[in-house]
């Protein structure tokens, strides 16, 4: 009798244990929780084998990707991956950020390299597309660099890294969940920034050969075929032939326009930097500042054509003061190459 009870209890316990562990039994499948993010990055199965090797789980459909014009974030190096569930695909749309289907995940890994090229993993961010919108999750890598743990409040890290050709100290800020939304905002809802056709339209060296990313996504069935024949692209910083204007506008679009647009966090500034904005006042030309405070740098205009050093836009890109620098978050050191690009562009106006 007792033995039967004992067995019953064991079965109960095992059943409960089984429910709890159920998600982890299927080793290969992507594992996205219904509610809050997993505690460990490895639990999602985005990567094969050792999570720290960052080998995408290609079997399950995780693809690495890259952007023509990346967002500058304190010279951090980044690796990006996309996961779109089987059987659904993204509509081809060049008018804004791609609308990924439910269950999709964007993965962005931030790291630095030391002088010897040894990688120091800082954080890995996820944007998870659920039925009611996008949800951010942030994972901070442990000191052993074996896995990353979920963080809600983020935190500050002082990093010595080989950036911009020399060893520099970076006051790196891992964002809290609200800060994710500060940049990833579209009319109060979270939205990705990077996956825009124009920014994805480039070659990538996949494990099985180089091909255009859009072609690959279409071939893999995660992106629908375009109706256009001439697919636009944005140039990268060091594009050999692109015009100064298109490079500068792409830079401003990627680095500024997620906030600086009518639907973004800086809507109240009236200063809008989307790639296709042609309105000279809202682009900052001869525009007086509204709420800049000391961010004005004593200057009269956001952009004074032909006079980069008299333009608040450039001043705030250069400043390292907390209340002056732009972007407001995600930057503690200035971006030498970006500053040069925007300086040249303003001076050419």
């Amino acid at each position: 009798m007792n033995r039967i009870k004992y067995a019953t209890i064991l079965v109960m316990v095992l059943l409960l244990l089984g429910q709890c562990k159920k998600d982890e039994i299927d080793q290969g499948a992507i594992n996205i929780p219904a509610g809050k993010g997993h505690t460990l990055l490895s639990t999602y199965n985005f990567f094969e084998g050792n999570v720290a090797d960052l080998i995408p789980n290609s079997e399950a459909g995780v693809l690495p990707y890259d952007l023509n014009m990346p967002l500058f974030s304190d010279y951090a190096s980044k690796k990006r991956f996309i996961y779109v569930p089987d059987g659904v695909s993204i509509s081809f749309d060049t008018t804004g950020t791609l609308d990924l289907p439910e269950g999709s995940v964007l993965i962005k890994h931030f790291y630095y390299e030391d002088a010897n090229g040894v990688e120091d993993y800082v954080e890995t961010r996820l944007l998870i597309r659920r039925s009611d919108g996008w949800y951010p999750e942030t994972y901070e890598w442990n000191d052993e660099q074996t896995d990353a743990t979920r963080t809600v409040v983020g935190g500050a890290r002082t990093i010595s890294a080989h950036v911009d050709g020399q060893m520099q100290t970076v006051s790196y800020q891992i964002p809290n969940q609200n800060q994710c939304k500060n940049c990833h905002a579209n009319n109060g809802k979270i939205e990705p920034i990077g996956p825009v056709i124009q920014n994805l339209n480039k070659d990538y060296a996949y494990a099985n050969g180089t091909s255009n990313q859009l072609d690959r996504w279409i071939a893999d069935g995660i992106l629908s075929s375009p109706s256009l024949s001439n697919i636009p692209d944005w140039p990268g910083m060091d594009h050999p032939t692109a015009s100064l204007n298109s490079k500068a506008r792409a830079y401003l679009a990627v680095n500024c326009a997620s906030c600086h647009r009518l639907e973004g966090s800086a809507a109240n500034s009236g200063f809008y930097l989307e790639y296709y904005n042609t309105d000279s006042l809202s682009l900052g030309f001869w525009k007086t500042p509204v709420a800049a405070g000391s961010g004005s740098g004593g200057l009269q205009y956001v952009i004074k054509p032909g006079a980069a050093d008299e333009s608040i836009l450039l001043y705030r890109m250069i400043s390292d003061q907390v209340d002056e620098r732009m972007p407001e978050i995600g930057r503690s050191v200035s971006h030498t190459e970006g500053i040069q690009l925007i300086r040249d562009w303003i001076n050419a106006q």
């Binding site: 809600v152 500050a156 809290n176 609200n178 509204v290 000391s294 961010g295 004593g298 200057l299």
Partner: protein, 416 residues
């Protein structure tokens, strides 16, 4: 008996093990108690930020008495019906003196019904307390302060609701802002009352905002006491603002706004200033010792001849000034930008004292500004820059403004 003892642990196991597994399956317990209390201590900043992220709608977040030190912006997003309460404006301090990241001290965005009360935010690097895109935001007994003598290194705005509606500011205190102590921008339905603004460039500023009542406040020792401005190129334009029953005195502080900011053009010694807006009623205020002008009405065109915004109306109109009290000593601050010194020189050259009411005269017709001050008989000057930018048409004749406008309606809404 012995058998029973052996069995008992099994039953305990049976009861506790499944429970513990259930717990470990979902560590994040649902907290049915909607009050979150933050006590001072080394983990307080993280606890507060966690609470600001994870609080369920309807929660009250309480800061106990003490100092809470932050190095990053404390932010909340997408919440509804939240009360953030301290133990008193002089008891609970959110302190950002050590801030290394973030453009604001406290930032609340994209929500409905948010209420701050009994708390002071101090020494933020940028703006002190910004709320953006909130429908129903209340600040009651809230302070925003930069320690020490007011400085251009201080943040721009103290209380800073922008793109909000149903903004209720009551019994607040703002000190040391390098732009405006209490600033309401691009918002609709606003009440600012019973508050004190001291030692800012602008004490209280209503900008590109519709339907605002500003009353029973005290503004002193600012560069300008109370401002109602409309600027070009923003998401909306302002109108319909009443400023009444305020005590606006001794606003003579040398303008310390960082150059380039519009508020840097406010003359030291300004009680109340209107810039390029319309439908404003200013009445029953007590203006004392604002030595440049108790009331200044000006156009953005005086500052910038080309606003570049085709939809912007830079000429003020439907301005009604009546039944205010005026007093001044004539001891005007001489530490002013050149353009202000020029105006002072122009007045002196025409044997005019610094007036109680000063117009730049850039408007469509004199009767867009109606002045009815029979009881107090203020001194008056009109630079008439609309006719002659050099000031050649300056006059102290107030009679062209002897007209009346209908009283504006009271702003009425249920504050959260």
């Amino acid at each position: 008996m012995k058998k029973l003892n052996q069995i008992l642990p099994l039953w305990l196991l049976a009861l506790t093990l499944p429970l513990s597994f259930i717990m470990s399956c979902d560590k994040e317990e649902v907290d049915n108690n909607n009050t979150i209390i933050i006590a001072p201590g080394p983990n307080a900043a993280d606890e507060a930020q966690t609470a600001f992220i994870e609080a369920a709608d309807g929660s009250t977040i309480i800061f106990e008495a003490g100092v809470f030190e932050f190095t990053n912006t404390l932010s909340m997003d997408g919440k509804n019906n939240i009360i953030i309460r301290g133990a008193g404006r002089d008891a609970s301090f959110l302190d950002f003196a050590g801030q290394t990241s973030g453009g604001e001290g406290v930032l609340v965005t994209n929500g409905t019904n948010i209420r701050f009360e009994n708390i002071t935010i101090r020494d933020s690097e940028g703006d002190a307390l910004k709320t953006r895109n909130i429908d129903g935001v209340s600040f009651v007994n809230v302070g925003t302060v930069w320690s020490g003598a007011p400085s251009s290194a201080n943040g721009a705005y103290g209380l800073y609701p922008v793109l909000c509606s149903k903004v209720y500011i009551d019994n607040c205190y703002a000190y040391g802002a390098s732009d405006a102590g209490i600033y309401v921008g691009q918002s609709n339905l606003v009440i600012v009352k019973n508050s004190v603004a001291e030692g800012n460039v602008a004490g209280i500023e209503i900008e590109n905002t519709t339907y605002a009542d500003v009353f029973d406040n005290e503004a002193f020792d600012n560069t300008g006491g109370i401002l109602v401005f409309d600027l070009p190129g923003l998401t909306q334009y302002g109108e319909t603002v009443r400023v009444f029953n305020n005590y606006v005195h001794d606003n003579n502080r040398t303008n310390f706004a960082p150059a380039g900011n519009i508020v840097g053009n406010v003359p030291a010694g300004t009680g109340f200033m209107i810039l390029s807006t319309n439908t404003v009623e200013v009445f029953d205020n007590n203006f004392e010792n604002n030595e440049f002008a108790a009331i200044l009405v000006a156009s953005y065109l005086f500052i910038d001849a080309n606003p570049n915004d085709p939809n912007y109306q830079p000429l003020p109109y439907l301005i009604s000034i009546h039944d205010n009290a005026y007093a001044s000593t004539g001891n005007t601050n001489q530490d002013q930008p050149a353009v202000i010194m020029d105006i002072m020189g122009l007045l002196a050259a025409n044997s005019l004292a610094q007036p109680d009411i000063l117009l730049d005269g850039i408007y469509a017709a004199p009767q867009v500004i109606c002045i009815q001050e029979d009881a107090s008989m203020p001194s008056f000057a009109n630079v008439n820059a609309g006719q002659d930018m050099s000031g050649g048409a300056i006059t102290d004749d107030m009679t062209p403004h002897d007209c009346q406008q209908n009283p504006l309606p009271e702003v009425s809404f249920e504050p959260f």
